[in-house]
């Protein structure tokens, strides 16, 4: 079951492997408002209304419970609070409400539920279409509930897997570049802090940290003064960027490290030239928790440095000498402090890739998690409340803008727009509009149109496409000359602060 993900464009090799599986007879359910490449080839495409993930998935759970399709043994042995979920679904989710909020006829939801629950093995792959909503966390909880209810976890070919968007975003989280966890997901408890204080020889802060969005909020209030940004073009890729621009402008120091001059550079005091992934040594961790070696193939431009070297030189000037001769030295320290990485060494990684947790040098790594129960004991079913989107289409802004990715570009576009051939196939951002809406608006394919949301407006060429349903439009945000994120919503998931990139109410004017 593929939920809120378009892997043939955003994770093309995953998409290709799914195509191979389809050829071998694997059944595919796609939950997506758009008729993506795989939606068109799925056994069942549930064209969910944007913002309708939670109602839809609750509907599937409701079917599974009512038709007793769940895995009773698994639930009894490994989970708790199933009854609470049963009650919640029975009282909160009528078929009528599910159909209304999800936009999917009940009969399809029934079929999907049966297909998923009755499968011997079923795998859920999900993407930003689940998480980039106000109800993003609860959407993921719904998916987790499904896997637990059917016991589709802990065996090969089952489980639940987020398709991580960027190549080392898993690794970034693993290393604790999150305000609420230390490296290796060690919580900010006194035990953890004591361990790191001993290793690093400094007193560590107790005050909880801010998440990125909170930093901007605080900056606008005058309480946040400086930001050091490494390889992340926030001024282009954040949602509702005008807000971010304002926040950055209020800071006394913004430093960016990047390989090309980023849009964020406009708000920076210092821009530092960095080495690219093709020019540095180290490790990255993919979405399967697979730790892999990155090797320098060529040398960086003469004065560009790998990020680790810049950070070492800076820390020296801040009065804390960290003398690592190479990334290997850093990795050795990480292994010492991170039990989940402890058994991975550069020597081992030279010959093979290893999935964490890998606690010992002779541990083979862990390809499948939870083969024998869960770390916390019993896994708890969550109660996923419905969070409606931050904005719904109305008279003034009658269309929904969904954002996502395109095959021929990647994120802020710095690498693809500077590589040969990519601008030839995909030279600019455009807005995909259903031909029916286009007809009503008097827009032809290729017309330049103005797209207006509550936060701003941009211009782009219209591309008439049946991939988007009537009432919906689609754009990516790979280009610096068509800043889609001027439009995007200000709503965020209240727990993770993930912006609601997927739903923006817009209106379109022909020019």
């Amino acid at each position: 079951m593929l939920c809120g993900a378009n892997p043939t464009e955003a994770h093309p090799v995953v998409g290709q492997k799914i195509l191979h599986a389809l050829k071998k007879g694997t059944k595919l359910i796609v939950i997506d408002p758009r008729k993506t490449y795989l939606a068109a080839r799925a056994d069942l495409w549930l064209s969910v209304r944007p913002g309708g993930n939670i109602p839809l998935l609750c509907g599937m759970l409701k079917v599974i419970i009512e038709e007793k399709l769940y895995n009773k043994d698994f639930i009894n042995q490994f989970t708790e609070h199933f009854e609470a979920l049963e009650r919640y679904l029975a009282t909160e989710w009528s078929v009528e409400r599910i159909e209304r909020l999800s936009g999917v006829p009940w009969v399809f939801i029934e079929q999907a539920a049966r297909l998923y629950a009755r499968a011997e093995k079923a795998l859920i792959l999900y993407g930003l279409g689940v998480t980039e909503h106000r109800g993003g966390t609860n959407g993921v909880i719904c998916l987790a509930n499904l896997t637990l209810a059917c016991g589709h976890i802990g065996r090969a070919g089952t489980g639940i897997m987020p398709l991580r968007g960027q190549n080392n975003v898993q690794g970034a989280c693993d290393q604790g570049t999150l305000p609420y966890t230390y490296p290796g997901y060690q919580p900010l408890t006194e035990d953890t802090l004591a361990k790191f204080e001993e290793a690093w020889g400094v007193k560590l802060p107790r005050q909880p940290g801010l998440m990125e969005e909170q930093m901007y909020e605080e900056a606008l209030k005058g309480n946040f003064k400086g930001l050091y940004i490494i390889g992340y073009d926030v001024a282009q890729t954040q949602a509702n960027i005008a807000h971010v621009w304002k926040a950055l402008s209020r800071m006394e120091l913004v430093v960016v490290q990047d390989i090309f001059f980023p849009l964020t550079g406009r708000f920076a005091h210092v821009v530092l030239p960095a080495a690219s992934m093709l020019e540095k040594e180290g490790t990255v961790t993919n979405g399967e928790r697979r730790i892999m070696r990155v090797r320098a193939a060529v040398s960086p431009p003469p004065e560009a440095w790998p990020d680790w070297k810049i950070l070492c030189e800076l820390s020296k000037r801040l009065g804390y000498e960290i003398c690592y001769r190479s990334p290997r030295d850093i990795f050795e320290e990480m292994r010492f402090l991170m039990p989940i990485y402890a058994g991975a060494s550069y020597e081992r990684l030279d010959s093979s890739e290893i999935c964490w947790p890998v606690p010992e040098e002779d541990h083979p790594g862990t390809k499948i998690l939870y083969t024998n129960g869960f770390p916390r004991g019993k896994a708890s079913f969550g109660i996923p409340r419905h969070w409606p989107p931050g904005e719904e289409p109305d008279k003034e802004y009658p269309l929904i803008l969904i954002t996502g990715r395109r095959l021929y570009h990647y994120n802020c576009g710095s690498m693809t727009t500077h590589s040969d051939g990519f601008l030839e196939v995909c030279p600019e951002e455009c807005i995909e509009i259903n031909p029916r809406d286009a007809l009503a608006l008097g827009i032809k394919d290729g017309d330049l149109v103005r797209i207006i949301s509550r936060r701003g407006e941009i211009e782009a060429k219209a591309k008439l496409s049946n991939r988007v349903l009537p009432g919906q439009t689609f754009m990516a945000f790979h280009f610096k000359d068509r800043l889609t994120n001027i439009l995007t919503s200000e709503a965020v998931d209240p727990k993770t602060y993930t912006p609601e990139y997927k739903i923006t109410a817009v209106r379109i004017q022909p020019l």
Partner: protein
């Protein structure tokens, strides 16, 4: 189950095909269409045929499942004959050049097409590194090379050949001005090698031997290195400073040079070996000049002797009128030097201009500078009249052919005339000098040719004495610099193998298996170039002849980067860019089927309309691999039989193509090639670096093929997770950003947002950042500062980023890009 293949018994798994079984057991069965895990080809190549005991007809191994007791022959004469017929049909439909004619013509073996391609893309250092793989003296060779490559250039069929040597000189000059990467040296071996003579051959050998990790000492009789480059070639062609820089860059690698040490006087081979040298390379050149064979010849000054005096900075007076006898490089150089000394110069040569040994270009330059040629003439005697000389000269005619068919110039009676001169030079070339025989007992045993030249194996430069190699002019007689450089490199390779105790594995390279659009230019079908707009070569900027004879500064000024790129873009890219993956050629070599009757003219235009892939149907062998590997229906391929063995191929990329490039990677010839892979290379050439794709979170393994610090191509390992060989358009093609001109290369700083950025040093930038962070932390507290890390960073860098925030700045305000 047990099966027998070619008499050997093997245990194999049930259900697999014979082809798979043979592959698993390391038995070679040729196949060009087999694609594991995919449908069989609609037109099987038929090469994988085998004979099965008890079956009358051969069967295809790819479609035959193993069964117990199967007894198979893979290589009978009948099978070989069928395969030969199949391959000959394919040969008859194949058109192209395996190797570019320029690269094939270079005595130095330089990948000419490759470095031109680098230059066309502005990758000057990569171009230089590629040149230096074969030639460590590009500054010098780029100025003096007679250019064996340029007359072979196919561009002449459009307008003019590419100015190859000028491009080589350009990158060498560019690196001189902008700095170059120091080549990687292998670990020290502790082995010592003596090189006798610091000319081009000796320097070249020293360069490569040093990079192999050996300790090299050069013994040089003169006080400076360079050989003929230092002592014969005038500064206006090769400035001394340029040569000195080039020599120094080799010495800087760790080469020892002992100047003023003369072989036979200060040491001999025996004393070298006794001193601990394990190998010696003799490269003393050929400096013994031939004398004129006329009365009064003692009045003529040998040209090389004169040139050396000039290069030593001695002041030489030649008077007002100079006569030079000879037609080689030394004659022309002497003439041009004399023009610069203010003399009127007449050059006398017994044959026609086209027969002169000097390069025609140099002859033209000499004439531009006012040198008078007196051709079809020969001196009869030189007589001294007081302080002046008189040269009696007769016109020549050619004799009747002698027994070998050679027509010699002979003086024509009654055509005598007198040339008056203050100085007469003779430039009759050099001859072998066997004086070395008396230098020691080992020397006495060195074998020489009837002409007196020392004998050395042409591919290894080894002499008949163990541990002794010889090369350059010493072996070949007077030749070009690039030939000496090549000899030095060959000797270095051979000495390295000798010292490391390994034998050279012979690489089977033979013109028998090279396709060519035409060995000679007139054999090449010109219709394929008709659509190419004419764009003559970039003229080499040079100083005005009248001005340049007033000094000794360099005549040719070299290209600007813009000129070099424009010139390099004229290259027609003849050599096959699929050579490294060409299974067709491999099968031809393994089956011993030579290219005897290939197509004479192309049937299809090369198509470059796909953004990432080039298509040359003249090389398609109809295996359908591209169609079968495509998961998206991106290729439509139809082959229409026109009868009489003639076929028409139609291949189109459809709008379903996702540009993933899988088709290129499986294509067994150069029919499909990658636009970005512009450097032709042999199979296995280039370093393979395992890494991870820099794009999405799938984290596909990639293999980066690197050569001379440039990425040639990215592929994936079919055996390794998570992608098992698959890649998407970004993974395969999205790497050229690394060399974009828009890369950030200098730290940028401004105090306030309304100011403009200025480029600063790393120290200034980091000091500024550190000071401002300290100020913020001090003034407002650490919780007012934050760090954002990202997926663009490795794990190690992410770890450091949070350590910077927590341990150094003192805040948990650290986050990453996970929400985007």
């Amino acid at each position: 189950m047990e099966i027998t293949i070619d008499g050997q018994k093997f245990e194999v798994k049930e259900g697999i095909t014979l082809l798979e079984a043979a592959k698993q057991k390391g038995i070679y069965i040729p196949s060009l269409c087999h694609l594991p895990g995919r449908d069989p080809s609609p037109r099987p190549c038929g090469l994988c045929i085998v004979e099965i005991e008890g079956e009358p007809e051969p069967v295809r191994a790819c479609e035959t499942r193993v069964r117990p007791g199967l007894c198979v022959s893979t290589n009978t004469s009948r099978l070989k004959e069928i395969r030969r017929q199949i391959l000959e049909t394919l040969i008859g439909r194949h058109y192209g050049d395996c190797k570019a004619p320029c690269s094939a013509a270079c005595p130095g073996g330089i990948n000419v097409q490759g470095y031109i391609a680098h230059i066309a893309r502005g990758e000057f250092l990569a171009a230089l590194n590629l040149i230096k793989e074969k030639n460590p003296l590009p500054l010098s060779v780029g100025r003096v090379c007679p250019r064996f490559c340029e007359p072979r250039c196919r561009r002449v069929l459009v307008d003019q050949p590419i100015a190859i040597n000028a491009l080589k000189r350009f990158v060498a000059d560019w690196a001189l001005a902008h700095g170059e990467t120091i080549p990687e040296r292998l670990p020290e071996t502790g082995k010592r090698v003596a090189i006798i003579g610091a000319g081009p051959a000796g320097l070249s050998a020293a360069y490569y031997l040093t990079l192999y990790g050996h300790q090299v000492t050069i013994f040089e009789a003169e006080e400076e290195a360079g050989g003929m480059l230092r002592w014969a070639i005038p500064n206006f062609r090769l400035p001394v400073e340029i040569l000195k820089h080039e020599v120094q860059s080799i010495i800087n690698l760790g080469v020892k040079v002992k100047y003023g040490k003369r072989w036979g006087r200060d040491f001999n081979l025996k004393t070298l070996f006794e001193a601990g040298f394990e190998a010696a390379f003799l490269a003393v050149g050929s400096t013994k000049e031939r004398t004129l064979d006329v009365e009064g010849q003692e009045e003529a000054i040998p040209a090389l002797k004169f040139l050396k005096m000039i290069k030593k900075g001695q002041s030489v007076r030649v008077g007002e009128r100079v006569v030079i006898i000879g037609g080689g490089d030394a004659a022309i150089d002497t003439a041009r030097v004399c023009r610069r000394l203010g003399a009127e110069v007449t050059l006398i040569y017994p044959r026609s201009r086209m027969e002169m040994l000097a390069h025609q270009r140099e002859i033209r330059e000499a004439e531009k500078e006012g040198v008078t040629l007196f051709l079809m003439a020969t001196p009869l005697r030189i007589t001294r009249q007081g302080s002046r000389l008189e040269v009696e000269v007769a016109r020549t005619i050619l004799s009747e052919p002698d027994e070998r068919g050679v027509r010699r110039p002979i003086p024509m009676p009654g055509t005598q005339r007198i040339f008056k001169a203050d100085t007469v030079f003779s430039a009759m070339g050099q001859r072998a000098d066997t004086a070395f025989r008396s230098y020691g007992e080992l020397e006495a045993r060195l074998k020489t040719s009837p002409g007196g030249q020392i004998k050395a194996n042409p591919s290894t430069q080894a002499t008949n004495i163990k541990g002794v190699w010889a090369g350059g002019d010493f072996v070949s007689g007077p030749r070009t610099v690039i030939q000496a450089v090549a000899a030095g490199r060959r000797a270095a390779e051979s000495i390295n193998l000798y010292l490391c105790g390994t034998k050279k594995t012979s690489v089977f390279v033979s013109p028998r298996f090279n396709f060519s659009r035409g060995k000679r230019l007139d054999e090449v079908d010109v219709s394929q170039y008709q659509h190419i707009p004419s764009r003559p070569r970039e003229a080499m900027p040079e100083r005005d002849p009248e001005l340049r004879i007033t000094d000794c500064d360099e005549v040719e000024l070299g290209y600007t980067p813009e000129m070099a790129i424009r010139e390099a873009k004229r290259c027609l890219k003849c050599g096959c860019l699929g050579l490294h993956k060409c299974d067709f050629r491999e099968v031809l070599i393994k089956e011993g089927v030579s290219v005897t009757n290939p197509l004479k003219k192309p049937r299809y235009e090369i198509r470059e309309d796909h953004p990432f892939i080039n298509l040359d149907l003249n090389k398609c062998i109809r295996c359908f691999k591209c169609v079968r590997v495509c998961d998206y229906g991106g290729i439509e391929l139809d082959i229409i039989d026109l009868g009489e063995g003639i076929e028409e191929i139609h291949l189109e990329f459809t709008d379903k193509c996702v540009s993933c490039g899988s088709c290129v990677d499986v294509c067994p010839t150069g029919a499909l090639t990658k636009k970005a892979a512009v450097v032709p290379r042999a199979r296995g050439e280039g370093k393979k670096i395992n890494s991870v794709c820099p794009y999405c979170g799938t984290g596909c393994n990639i293999q980066i093929i690197v050569k001379s610090n440039a990425i040639l191509e990215i592929t994936a390992d079919a055996q390794r997770p998570p992608n098992y060989g698959s890649l998407c358009v970004k993974g395969r093609f999205g790497f050229t950003f690394y060399k974009s001109k828009d890369r950030l290369t200098k730290p940028l700083l401004r105090e306030e947002l309304d100011e403009a950025f200025r480029e600063v040093s790393w120290d200034e930038a980091l000091d500024f950042v550190a000071a401002r962070i300290k100020k913020i932390v001090h003034q407002y507290g650490p919780h007012t500062f934050g760090v954002l890390s990202s997926s663009r960073c490795t794990n190690e860098e992410n770890y450091l980023a949070q350590k910077l925030a927590r341990a150094i700045i003192g805040t948990n305000n650290v986050d990453n890009c996970a929400r985007v």
